[in-house]
């Protein structure tokens, strides 16, 4: 391939100035070339737009409204039928995009905000700091993940911070975020350990760069692509985790969510009411497929090792 940044050949005297292409620029070029990746990206963008429209109140704000008789099969009026209270399943599905995406986004951000600094510190400083962080994540990794999430979700429901109750959505994304950072921390630690002894870090150190600056400005940008790839897969994981939490009665309290819809539909299927379950399943299905494909394309585009 010809995407390797060409270096001006110094032996031939002053060469013409070659416009440098950054890793991100290169990655985007590679990503753009894949048709499936671009379709996936479009699907993700649609979900995000729906979630934003719901958040601003422009879409599906009236999801709680009774629009017809209960359990009406899909028709021209109600594309996905109605639920037990005669509410439009379509509106609920759309509104749930906001709920589920919010949970996944906040949980991911929390995990990244814990996992990356911890991993970077463990990898960079080594010694006692490393030993403590490794101990901490070894302990958390030994405990069955689902139990840990459930315990956190349970505990956090009754917690009040500065007069603000965590019950509902915050309990969910905190439970997911606070338990989900282990893998990322381990990944970043390993990568930072490799970077620590590289020449550019030694150079920065010899310039008198502070350690904080070396980690934040020099090393972390070199592992950002790993965070991004991890983020895309983590996001899918959290959307699916929300379903299980909702099934166990630990889901969002007021807002509808895909998990709550599936949970509500669990006894309805035998009676032939398939649409609520189908709508929520399809909603999860499409964004999962899109994120999975996008994540693969992202890895191919960003991993310098695969560059040939």
């Amino acid at each position: 391939m010809t995407t390797v940044p060409t270096q001006p050949d110094l032996a031939d005297g002053p060469a013409e100035v070659v416009k440098g292409r950054s890793l991100w620029h290169d990655a985007w070029r590679r990503f753009r070339r894949k048709k499936m990746a671009m379709i996936s990206l479009a699907v993700i963008v649609v979900y995000v737009i729906v979630a934003l429209l719901v958040a601003t109140g422009l879409l599906a704000g009236d999801w709680n409204e009774e629009v017809g008789p209960r359990y009406q099969a899909p028709s021209a009026d109600h594309w996905f039928g109605t639920d037990i209270f005669g509410r439009s399943t379509l509106r609920m599905t759309l509104y749930s995009a906001k709920t589920s995406l919010t949970v996944a986004l906040f949980a991911s951000v929390i995990s990244i905000c814990i996992g990356v600094p911890m991993g970077a510190m463990a990898g960079y400083f080594g010694g006692k700091v490393d030993e403590f962080i490794v101990w901490l994540y070894s302990v958390l990794a030994s405990i069955p993940g689902l139990l840990l999430i459930l315990a956190f979700a349970f505990v956090l429901r009754d917690v009040t911070v500065f007069g603000y109750s965590l019950q509902g959505m915050p309990a969910i994304y905190l439970a997911l975020g606070l338990t989900g950072w282990v893998y990322l921390c381990r990944l970043i630690r390993g990568e930072v350990m490799k970077h620590r002894s590289r020449d550019y870090v030694t150079a920065a150190r010899s310039y008198g760069c502070s350690q904080k600056r070396i980690i934040l400005k020099h090393i972390v940008p070199n592992v950002t692509h790993l965070i991004l790839i991890d983020f895309s897969l983590r996001f899918v994981g959290y959307i699916h985790a929300e379903v299980i939490l909702s099934y166990l009665g630990l889901g969002p309290v007021k807002d509808p969510s895909w998990g709550k819809m599936i949970d509500a539909a669990k006894l309805e299927l035998q009676r032939g009411h398939w649409w609520e379950l189908t709508a929520a399943t399809l909603a999860i299905f499409f964004i999962s497929v899109a994120l999975n494909i996008a994540s693969d394309a992202l890895r191919d585009a960003l991993d310098p090792k695969l560059k040939t």
């Binding site: 069955p144 505990v155 099934y247 166990l248």
Partner: protein
Amino acid sequence: MWAYILRRLLYTPLIVFGVLLVTFVLFKLVPGNPARIIAGPGASESTIKEIEAQIGLDKPRWINVDGAREQGFGALFDSQFFRHMWDTPRFEFGDSVYKKKAVSEILYKGAGPSLKLTVPMFIALLATSISISLGITMLRGTVWDLLIVIACVIGMSIPFLAVILFGQDWFAGKLDWFPIRGYDTGFAGVRYYVLPVILGVFAGLGSDVRFYRTVMLDEAKADYIRTAYAKGVGTGRVLFRHLLKNAMIAVITRVVLAIPFLFLGSLLLERFFSIPGLGFLMVESISSRDYNVIAALTYIVALLFIFGQLMTDICYALVDPRISLK
């Protein structure tokens, strides 16, 4: 090598200590007062106090300063924390608040039904995904490879709960191929397990095939494979004798670390198919806030996991001469 193994052995109690600490904080300290749950609604304060004294909740949480002042230094450790740290490693989990029975007895009863579900599921899943991944290495670059990868992504993207709901409704309800739910001991119970095992395998296949495919393809690129082909070894022999043997390291690591979690059973499958295993027990204990049971279950599975990890590390150290003190 021996220094590494020794270090690894000494490190293990530290992790067990951490697990004990986490289980204490999460399941004993924070959840509120189990005495109230035992006493039932509407119990008088004095009854609750009595039960608290019975299960040791009247003791201070971390250290017993007052006790030490009155009865000497030894009583300093007469607290909820030290009690937990002393009892749990000896597998003394106390009683279930909800079922009024010893936790160890409940767990012992639930392990059988759970393992009968998870072990066949695990073996079937492993065999299927490894066969498919081995097959893919032969089809690398063809349209079949692509189709299988797409199928994997599709399989991974359906929520597990939806797989169970649709699967149960269709195969047991509409087609009537399997009983909808139920449980029986001995050979008569096998028929109840067939559908949950199939659904579990289906749900796990996507991510497993993707994982093993990557492992196998990495191996397939290695020089020794090309050498094997070059000296005229047949495809079957290359796959099974050369590739599979080398890929086994990654496979075994994954398998060993997955085994402890088999004891947990399957939360969702057991619930929907009425299998009275540990997964079922867990959902029940969560909704009834029976924290003694959850703490015990967490501790046992964590212990098995730590042990499994220790064994793999030691085996690696024995086999691989490159591992030494880091």
